[in-house]
C-alpha cells in the first residue's frame, strides 16, 4: 500500500487516493512517425526491476498528475516531481546514484 507525496497539493497520498499512469517521460509520436517509434510509444516499456520513473494522478484529491521515482522491487520512493517536465530532475538522479550506484547502466542496457 504505497504512500506518495503529491507535489501539487503537498499531501501524502494513500495509494487508494491515486491512480497509476505507467511509465513516465514517453515521447509522443503522431502522424508521420516511423512504425518503430510509434510502437515504442504505445507498447514498449522499460518495465525495470529497479528504478522506475512513472506517472501518477492524485485522482481522489487535487486531480493533478505528477511523477514519481520508485524502485519496483523494494518499493522505495526516491521522490516525486511535477508532471510538466520531460526528464527527472538532476538532483533526484544524483540521489538515486548515491543509493543505487550503477542503476543507470541497467537502464541503458
Amino acid at each position: 500500500m504505497l504512500r506518495l507525496h503529491c507535489p501539487n497539493c503537498g499531501v501524502d497520498c494513500d495509494e487508494t487516493e491515486l491512480s497509476a499512469g505507467g511509465e513516465a517521460h514517453l515521447t509522443r509520436f503522431g502522424p508521420g512517425s516511423e512504425d518503430d517509434d510509434f510502437e515504442s510509444y504505445l507498447f514498449m516499456r522499460k518495465n525495470p526491476k529497479g528504478v522506475h520513473f512513472e506517472r501518477w494522478r492524485h485522482v481522489m484529491g487535487c486531480g493533478k498528475w505528477f511523477h514519481a521515482a520508485r524502485n519496483t522491487v523494494s518499493l522505495r520512493v526516491y521522490g516525486t516531481y511535477p508532471a510538466q517536465v520531460t526528464a527527472p530532475p538532476e538532483a533526484l538522479l544524483a540521489e538515486i546514484d548515491a543509493v543505487e550506484p550503477g542503476w543507470r547502466n541497467k537502464e541503458e542496457a
Partner: protein, 414 residues
C-alpha cells in the same frame, strides 16, 4: 520410473513407503543441449514435454532460477476454461482444456483435473450481450458453452444470491467441461515425465547472460556455468523483460502483482467455479474445502510478490455481495504473483528478432489454464518454426495494430 497406481501404493505401504523413487532427477547441467528452456514453470515444462513426446527432441534442459513450479504455476486460482471470444484465444485455450482432460493418464500423475463447470455471471445487460456474443463465437469455434438463465444459475450454485438487489443475476455463460486442476501437480507431473524422457531439469540455476553468435543465440551463462543450446525458449512469466533484455530485444510487457486468497476450509458448498466480472471477483472451492478467491492486479509495475490490500478488499466485498454466506468465513491467507501484461492482454508466443530464440510470455492473469496448450503449441513453434495455434500471437502484432483483445465482450478477467 515406477508407475503410479493404487497397487503401487499398496505395495509400498507394506514397506512403509521406503521404496519410492525421486519424482524427477536433479542432474548437473551438460555443456550443450539441442534445446534449452528457461523457466521450469508449468509452461516451460509442458513445452519440454511436448518437444519430446511429439517432436522427438529429448536432448533438452529446463533451467530454473528457484524451485520448479514456484512462480505463477503455484500461485494461481487453478481455473481452467476456454470460453474465450476471439478465434486465436479460443483455439489455444480449447486445445489446452482438451489436453487437461487426459493429462493425468498421459503423465501417469493425478493432476486432479475436475471439469466441474465454470460459470461467468452476467449482471448487467451489457455483460449479458457480451456473453451471448461469446456463446455464438464459441459455437463456431468448437468450444462447448451455453447461455443459462438465472434459475439455472441458482440451481447449480445454490449459495449464490441471484436477486441482487444491486446487480441481479441475469444469467451466465456456462462451460460445463471447464473446471480446475491441482496446480502444483501439473508442474510435478510434467517434470516427472520430462525427467523420464531423459531431459535435464536443473533447479537453482539462474541465467546471468545470453550468448550470441551474430544475431543468433548459442547459449547461456548461468550460475551453474555455461550452457550451449541449439534453440532457446524463454518461458519466465514475470521476468520476461529481463531475459529479453539479456537476449537483446524488447518486449511490449509490463509486470504487475496479481493477488489471490483462500478461506479456511469448510465442507463442500459450491461445486462449480463462478466468475463475477461486474463486481470483480471469482471463486471456487478446492478439494480441501477452502474457498479459492481471485483478486485484482496492482495498477503499477512491481516485482514485489505482495500487491496492495485494497484489491483484496474490493474482491471480498464483491463476493460477500454475491455469496452472502462467505461473510462469516475467515480469510486464511492472501498472496501475490507477478504477471506479465501485454498491450492487448493476450500472450506472446513468438519468434524473436534474435535467431533461434523464442519467447512465450504475457499470459497476464490467465496463464495456468493454458499450460498444456501453451506447451503443445510453443513446442511446435520451436520444433517446426510455425504453429497454427501460435500464428496470431506473434509479437509483431502490436506494430500492425492487430490485437487479440479479449476484454471487448465483457471485461473478462482470468
Amino acid at each position: 520410473m515406477t508407475r503410479y497406481s493404487a497397487f503401487a501404493i499398496a505395495k509400498q505401504a507394506m514397506r512403509h513407503h521406503m521404496g519410492w523413487d525421486r519424482a524427477w532427477a536433479s542432474p548437473s547441467p551438460k555443456s550443450h543441449y539441442d534445446v534449452v528452456i528457461v523457466g521450469a514453470g508449468g509452461h516451460g515444462l509442458a513445452t519440454a514435454y511436448w518437444l519430446g513426446r511429439k517432436h522427438g527432441i529429448t536432448n533438452v534442459a529446463v533451467i530454473e532460477k528457484g524451485w520448479l513450479g514456484g512462480g505463477n504455476t503455484g500461485r494461481n486460482t487453478t481455473i481452467i476454461r476456454s470460453n474465450y471470444l476471439q478465434d486465436p484465444s479460443a483455439a489455444l485455450y480449447e486445445k489446452s482444456r482438451s489436453l487437461f482432460e487426459t493429462m493425468s493418464q498421459d503423465l501417469n500423475y493425478n493432476v486432479m483435473f475436475s471439469p466441474r463447470g465454470v460459470l461467468m455471471l452476467a449482471q448487467t445487460e451489457h455483460e449479458k450481450r457480451g456473453y451471448l456474443r461469446t456463446a455464438h463465437a464459441n459455437m463456431l469455434q468448437g468450444v462447448e458453452t451455453r447461455w443459462i438463465g438465472p434459475q439455472e444459475v441458482k440451481r447449480i450454485c445454490p449459495i449464490m444470491n441471484i436477486d441482487g438487489p444491486r446487480y441481479p443475476v441475469l444469467g451466465g455463460l456456462w462451460q460445463e467441461r471447464a473446471g480446475t486442476a491441482r496446480h502444483d501437480a501439473v508442474a510435478w507431473g510434467y517434470a516427472r515425465a520430462c525427467s523420464d524422457m531423459g531431459m535435464d531439469i536443473i533447479e537453482q540455476c539462474e541465467v546471468t547472460g545470453v550468448t550470441r553468435d551474430g544475431d543468433k543465440v548459442t547459449g547461456l551463462s548461468t550460475t551453474r556455468g555455461e550452457i550451449g543450446c541449439g534453440k532457446l525458449g524463454i518461458v519466465v512469466a514475470g521476468h520476461s523483460g529481463r531475459l529479453a533484455e539479456m537476449a537483446g530485444f524488447r518486449l511490449p510487457v509490463e509486470s504487475v502483482p496479481l493477488q489471490a486468497l483462500v478461506s479456511e476450509p469448510i465442507k463442500p458448498c459450491m461445486d462449480i467455479v463462478v466468475m463475477a466480472n461486474t463486481v470483480h471477483g471469482y471463486m471456487s472451492q478446492s478439494d480441501k474445502g477452502e474457498m479459492v478467491i481471485g483478486g485484482g492486479t496492482d495498477s503499477f509495475n512491481g516485482y514485489h510478490q505482495r500487491g496492495s490490500f485494497h484489491h483484496i478488499e474490493e474482491t471480498v466485498r464483491a463476493l460477500v455481495e454475491t455469496f452472502p454466506m462467505i461473510s462469516r468465513l475467515k480469510m486464511l491467507r492472501h498472496w501475490g504473483g507477478i504477471v506479465d501484461m501485454t498491450g492487448d492482454r493476450s500472450p506472446i508466443l513468438s519468434k524473436t528478432p534474435v535467431g533461434n530464440c523464442f519467447i512465450n510470455c504475457g499470459w497476464g492473469t490467465g496463464g495456468f489454464k493454458a499450460t498444456p496448450g501453451s506447451g503443445w503449441a510453443f513446442a511446435e513453434l520451436m520444433a517446426k518454426g510455425h504453429s497454427p495455434l501460435t500464428a496470431e500471437f506473434g509479437m509483431e502484432r502490436f506494430r500492425e495494430g492487430r490485437f487479440i483483445d479479449e476484454s471487448v465482450a465483457a471485461g473478462v478477467a482470468h
